[in-house]
Symmetry: none
Subunit: 222 residues, 4 copies
DNA sequence: TATGAATGAGCATTCATTCAT
DNA sequence: CATGAATGAATGCTCATTCAT
């Protein structure tokens, strides 16, 4: 029954390059793996300690109680997922010869980010524990997806300005772009329990891109 | 009946029912609430028993162990959600004077189904426990969403046949219809922790429907 | 998991075919089996009820609580074991042509009684629960073994009177006769968990009889 | 019961040792007592923990689950009993002036070993739980009684070689020696629930020794 | 600082027993 | 009478957390 009662200190403050950072990292890494694999409730601090190769007490010394550990681990996954996603967005075509092909490229990369194990685990953990830790939603949303969505919106807006797309609301379009691209992925991966066949992924992504282009492609240039 | 005897009237007490079926129902109801609130791992049979107004042993007598109880509870939510969704689909316009208004009507109802507490809980539980109970995905998927999606696909196909829409693949279009309609809901509800303001819901749904129509509306009739 | 089999074949030797005594007998029979198989502590009234084909409450109606049921079952096994043993003693040679052969015959039968499943179970249950139910020792001892030992003592005394044996204390001799005969049986049967090979039984019994005869045989006649 | 009370036991409590080895020993000691008193099935880990003055979890940390605890406790009793018995055998007369007196001395000590509380408990537990843990028979048998019997057989053989006894099979004779000596003890102690009066013990042992000597004493020297 | 040891609270599950029908 | 249903009280076992070393 631990909720969000006390105001909590900022998570990313540890500036002790003492050499024990390695231990801290090992703990986070293990926590990440174990929470992703077993969920918050079922993950035991024992397991995390054992996978990190440290004693349980060390975890408490470094990262406080289970809830705090969970928050740190989530923040870490979120950060990684975000990095991956922003990288994927780097492939966005600014002046594409072939708009569809360009969008397909980015979309495929974004879909891969979405289907990534860590990203899937993050979404699962977030949704599982949102009732227990309601503040997590905003925290994570701001730190990752929102940035990505806004970046994507910016790129779509540039395409629109360049005459490739017809968009009234780039942010909303960005959301819909992702929604369409990603639509079939949960089914294809059985909620993240199966690896998606690449051909299937490509087809699903294409379906999303095509619908997006039907909706927002500049009819004059199509 | 003058009531000289101690004969007990068949109480249909809703809060703590005494009847056999009533008790089973009360257990399921409580399980549903508790699992939805706390997740499988964190939910305790004690809590469920206490909320159901029965003893723990009674739960085991009626519904077997915790896993079985969970499966029954999920099946129950799934069934209810499905019923609601199929009802919502009943409002689908077959020969609409105003296509957009018609679609908005259905879309709004579907979005309400999606945002419904029980439906949200179902999705959360399913995603949370998919690793522990991988078979749940197919079971639930078949029993509910798939039926709804196919029904929706059929209705979209009829609209296409009637010349209102241009669809190559109705099933995929149905999926995308839902995806677009529902796109912003998790954000608006903070993953199901906040009630969505109806105006916001209406706006979000409209955005989805509009994009859908831009993609699949018959341009001749628009 | 309950209600495996409801219809037990009606015992043909039952004088009350309407089921009252038959039910009581079925309960005792089942209790006997289950207690023997699982011990007092581990045996569950549920199991006994299910094997008896009656409901748990019926057991309580007929035979009181678990302890009483246990006592009745023990008494029943003791009675049967005693009957078997007394039958075996009926083979005792009163005027044997070949004393050794005669004693071997009885000894073999007695050893079989000792090694019998029910007899083994009786000893096991008695010893297991003697701390909990200290009065059982005397009750059972009087109802069975003591009678047998005294009968055996009487027969040994007759042999002594007839000049075949030299005994100062027939009762003690009877005890020692049994002790010698039975000495190796627990080892051979691994405390009752293995069936004893008949050749081994014969050898072990012979060893006991021979030592007995070396001690008590009339040297003049040997 | 609100909050987490930190009721700290007095640190210098002597009856509940705090040392690491001490704790393990205290657990084993308590387990031994409780298992002996209540049997495996009825003994609760709670009781053992409470009698050992430790928490339940500590038991699980030190000795694994209940079965393992039981096995360790049994091994401990077996080891102690064996030590006692081997000590008793040290008193065996190799060149006795008075054979009967010498044998009586050993026999009395052996009988005391047999009647010892722990030894009695060991036999009871072994027989009670042999169905659940069939491997225990051989394990215990090898670790204790077999060694003792063989030692005894060796000593009897030496007496035979020295002309004091006439033995064809020393091992069998050793078994029978014990069987005769011990024959009346279960009855005298009411299956281990009463302390045996020493005079009775002496008489019972003498009866066994006398019969043994009648059977195996060298008639020339008697 | 890192850790091994310890523990109170809690968990899923079972059981002997009762009672209304 | 016989029974299905119900339950309070255990039971074996685990876990997040603490603390002396």
């Amino acid at each position: 029954m631990t909720g969000t009662r006390k105001s909590r200190p900022p998570l990313t403050d540890e500036s002790h390059p003492n050499g024990r950072v390695g231990k801290r990292q090992a703990i986070l890494e293990a926590a990440l793996r174990v929470f992703a694999r077993e969920g918050y409730g079922q993950a035991s601090v024992d397991t995390i300690a054992s996978e990190a190769g440290v004693s349980k007490a060390t975890i408490y010394n470094h990262l406080g109680d289970k809830e705090t550990l969970f928050r740190h681990a989530l923040a870490e996954i979120a950060s990684r997922s975000n990095t991956k996603t922003m990288d994927a967005l780097g492939a966005f075509p600014t002046h594409p010869e072939d708009l569809r092909a360009g969008l397909l490229g980015v979309a495929h990369k974004l879909a891969e980010c979405f289907a990534d194990d860590q990203s899937t685990a993050l979404r699962r953990l977030l949704q599982s524990e949102i009732v227990r830790f309601p503040d997590l939603f905003e925290t994570i949303r701001d730190s990752g997806p929102n940035q990505a969505t806004e970046a994507l919106a910016g790129q779509l807006a540039r395409l629109a300005n360049a005459g490739y797309l017809e968009l009234a609301d780039p942010l909303r379009a960005a959301n819909q772009f992702v929604a369409l691209i990603v639509d079939e992925l949960p089914t294809l991966s059985a909620l993240g329990t199966r690896k998606i066949d690449d051909a299937d992924l490509t087809k699903a992504v294409a379906a999303g891109v095509d619908t997006f282009l039907r909706a927002f492609g500049n009819r004059a240039t199509l």
